[in-house]
Symmetry: C3
Subunit: 345 residues, 3 copies
């Protein structure tokens, strides 16, 4: 019998099933450096141990997206190896900073199942939780993904669609213990714009673009031990292209957003996310943001901005999210991400 | 007089000669991260400090192949800068885990010489030993390589061909101090297959493929301070291709073998190895393994599997090593490596 | 109003102006590893913590160019985002070794301004100083760069051209505290040539070449948080090429110079530097050096060599710096760098 992992198919999942994913992974300063070589990140907290300590974060946290990609990567072999499409994220909260030396493990619970009307695939909803070596939650999130059936004649399960919040409520945001922006050094951080300078509805064109290379997206995706074949193997897709991991576009757009949102230091939650078009090596990616909401937090000097982060193939200075005629995502939109950032007030 | 290193030619070697190679190199957590960005490795021991400690390995070892490539790279400027071909490896044993902070130095002794009948080159046999900062052996191995003569008229040395074992005997394997697989967590490791689940003669198709890029193999090879020109310079070969370092294919195949051999956690020895065809950027590499032998070890819960690891250009589901008609390696075979892995019983 | 950084234009600078640059950056062992994957560096001091300690340097310093690129990268968003050309460096001194854990911040003072006769741009002279988390100077340097005017009708400032030394005087070199080459291990270092073996006027062809890839130069440049668009975005230049960051060529040439200058362990100062032609992915870069001067130092066993380091596109075995007819840089010359290295006597 084959010893290799065929991945799970739609009919292998049952609501309530708990999957403990391989492989635990220790985060290191090496991850921070490789991340910095792959994304143009300049946020002062992950860049500088001194700056982080000056806002109450010591030891020196890595970017939340490093923790997210590592934790997410672990779910791929069990959840999405046979996926048709990654449909969405919700209710992702970062419970505490991840620091070098932390070891992350991920567990998922199946929280919903719905077979598609074509009978060939179905949507699997999971809630995944990444814990550190002390058994504490580092982050958790819900995700739903369309997965092939192995056998189209397998019976459809009772449909269960979980009730997921459209966004994490501001009062449910988890603020890192000790975070204090009351003596925040905006010159060191790179921009003067604080929480009060941003208005709901405001859009920010992040201006800069980065041309993707296959080597770089492969290296990034591999660093997270993500095993989806389409990212690494030109023989895996009929067009011979290596599909860029959606998380690569998230990290790239987040890094580009520094230019205009340099003080959006920490990601507290990801409310929703859609990968609206594929990206490939050679594409030039730009980003823009929209302020969706604002909230105060109990932490000293810390406000929260709810931001839409949009990545586009080619720059769209008009910052158009959806085609007004069709209501669909505008041509060139690659990513529509909705998240909460922590910003000095 | 030129101050640059021309490398040694065949007539520069004498049996019994000892070469202390430059440059000592300190292993760091950065090496682990870069390695993880270049190879799809997921073995739990090198991935997780917690998992490693749970099997008795603390501090957290890096992959044996990191140590191998670093130790090997040091020999290139002295042994194989003028090589025609790397012919084989034998008797490679890992004496103890290498951990971040260790500094490796390599020394080689010439153990054999045999001029080729054409008079233009000869085979040099060396035994190389890498030691750490405490002077303890980290690994050692024998290697033979065909090297150009500088002067075809230089007299041939008395031929000496060392007697190298076809494989390290199971009883000569060195088990890391403290290694204990008796409470091994196979869910965290990623697969349920233990030592007793593998049968001699069994073949495992590792299924996944990775398309090589020039950037990635250059970065890997450079990380090991390997200076062979053909890997980095399009002007070094008539075809304008950058030859992929054979060790890159070894590391890639080893990482791909996780899928089916996730519990082959540690490499105890390399018995033999042949780079049977060149690889280049754009090639898509797959791997399969064959169980050659099995042995018990005195360490608690630890068994040994002797494995053949074959890398191929393009996937060969038939897992054919040699063409039955010619007896030569089948088209597409890039690597034939024979090693001992330590596996939970 | 736009929140993104438009960069400064020529008329935004005034003599005496002090700019504290974002973002402080902590150096880690990860940087050393990524650097080692991008450049073929083999100098024993940055390669080996043991070797470094044996010459009095403990903790283990990273390459001076890591510190230089990080410190330099910080100045780009404020000084050279609207640059036409980077014209030169002078008076760069490394005040103390930078070690993992150090956090670097950079401040620049405008020390000169001179509008070009065409009225469209001008030359900005800055002296930049990078300090560590203890407020001590790690390195400083002067640089001048041609910057666009925003408004061609803006009045020209009073021209101020600073008096910069053609080279750092030998007696002004700063030797790392504790540096002692009196029991230097030249076998470990890789070459026997010491300070006394080099003669003024001597040229060394470093022989080896490296073919550039876009992925690699992007990764390097990003690691330094350098944001100049031309390095990352094929849409930023009419020719669709990504311009290689000049510092990438410096690091590559320095690494290649190991072959013939393996004992030029530390960079004490950069006297001058010119990027004489652009480099792009696909170019194959070689290097040669010329000994410009020699000096003793008060540190035990430590001499200083003043070296010209020239990078070329394609190998030039004739090592021709300038075309004898035109007096201009010879075709293929990419870099002309003048620096002081510390070498065992």
């Amino acid at each position: 019998m084959s010893k290799t992992n065929p991945g799970n198919f739609f009919e292998d999942f049952t609501v309530g099933q708990v999957i403990r994913h391989a492989t635990p992974r220790t985060v290191t300063e090496g991850d921070r450096a490789v991340y910095g070589s792959l994304y143009p990140t300049r946020f002062a907290v992950p860049s500088s141990a001194e700056f982080a300590a000056s806002v109450g974060l010591d030891p020196h946290p890595v970017e939340e997206l490093i923790a997210f990609h590592i934790a997410f990567g672990k779910t791929v072999p069990d959840v999405s190896l046979n996926a048709v499409a990654n449909l969405g994220y919700a209710e992702c909260r970062f419970h505490q900073p991840v620091v070098p030396g932390d070891t992350l493990s991920t567990t998922s619970e199946v929280i919903g199942l719905k077979q598609n009307s074509n009978g060939r695939s179905g949507v699997v909803y999971v809630r995944s939780t990444a814990t550190n070596q002390r058994g504490e939650v580092a982050l958790d999130w819900a995700r739903w993904v369309m997965v092939h059936k192995r056998d189209v004649d397998a019976p459809a399960p009772e449909p269960v669609v979980p009730d997921l919040a459209p966004a994490v409520a501001a009062e449910d945001l988890l603020i890192p213990a000790g975070l204090d922006f009351s003596s925040y050094d905006e010159t060191a951080a790179g921009e003067p714009h604080r929480w009060s300078d941003y208005e709901i509805g405001e859009r920010i064109d992040h201006v800069d673009g980065v041309t993707l290379t296959d080597s770089e997206h492969q290296q990034a995706t591999r660093l997270w031990q993500n095993t989806a074949k389409v990212h690494f193997n030109v023989e895996a897709r009929p067009d011979g292209n290596r599909l860029v991991y959606g998380g690569h576009v998230i990290s790239l757009a987040r890094a580009l957003s520094y230019n205009g949102l340099a003080n959006a230091q920490l990601i507290a939650a990801i409310n929703a996310g859609a990968h609206t078009a594929p990206a490939f090596g050679g594409d030039t990616v730009y980003a823009w943001s929209e302020v969706l909401d604002k909230a105060e937090t109990p932490a000293p000097g810390v406000g929260a901005l709810r931001l839409r982060l949009v990545a586009t193939k080619g720059r769209d200075e008009s910052m158009t999210l959806k085609d007004p005629e069709t209501g669909k995502y505008a041509a060139g939109v690659l990513l529509d991400l909705d998240y909460w950032a922590l910003v000095p007030r």
